[in-house]
Symmetry: C2
Subunit: 150 residues, 2 copies
Amino acid sequence: MVKKLDENDWPETLDHVGWQLWQATQRWKSELDAGLVAAGYPWAAEARANIVMHVGRAGIRQSDLVRRMGLSKQAVQQLLDGLVADGIVERKADREDKRGRLIVFTATGRRMLADSNRVKQDIEEGYRKALGERRFADFMAMLRELNRRP
Amino acid sequence: MVKKLDENDWPETLDHVGWQLWQATQRWKSELDAGLVAAGYPWAAEARANIVMHVGRAGIRQSDLVRRMGLSKQAVQQLLDGLVADGIVERKADREDKRGRLIVFTATGRRMLADSNRVKQDIEEGYRKALGERRFADFMAMLRELNRRP
DNA sequence: CGCTATAGTCAAGCTTCTTGACCATACATT
DNA sequence: AATGTATGGTCAAGAAGCTTGACTATAGCG
């Protein structure tokens, strides 16, 4: 008979904020991936898809992407190469800085943005249902507070 | 003059649960890494360090690690190889299942576990201070609720 | 003007994780 | 007991993801 591990059998070290946060994030990400794959973006689970959520209607600077994502600029560059090849974004010259490149959505990209917003709303809906409107609002407020700390 | 992006200038798509969760998790992880590096484990930021927090005093099955970490069994195996080489854990035969291998801490590993628990408590202390005891408890409760959903 | 910081590119390589093929033990069915 | 299938683990090869190093071009400051 194989010993079955149950909830209380796990090592005591495990129940801390970090683990709970990690689990929640993993879960959110995999729900997003599943939703986008279902919406017709089979590569949604790949690394370059992470960039999409950082590009707004106004476009974003490559160097700002680097800061937001916590990756090297070369990594971001490579991920962007992929998205450009997919026809999701394109690099435009930045008028205010000749060194810069502005990343903007193509028509396909705008469609994907809309789709992914829809998926995100669906996921969030699940959170609201689980916690209730009021507590969900509190939850978000606390997350923002934690992330804003110096 | 380079255009400076401020808080309100970010694309509207960004302020969702997933992003906040991702940020919080990243931050927690990097605080843990920094703490462990400071405590004398220079490889704390590397992938194999993630395993340590899953090994309790009683040890854990390799296959249970696989389930908990969301990686392939081969990946877990490789990470474990690293930890064994570091002298942090060892593989023992599992008496209840001759196929299984039990991952247990060495003396060095137990020391690291203690150190990392200390670091985690310090980090959590920061969260408690930021939110207050009461709200932090709520926060954890909500995280657990979200993670327990079917 | 010259100096330093910033934005981006190209190339090479390491780390991390995956897939595929495989062996041994366990468990269920008959 | 005999057989089939699921589970636990290993070995090997390779793809994905990210890094470091070396370089070019523009910006901004003294």
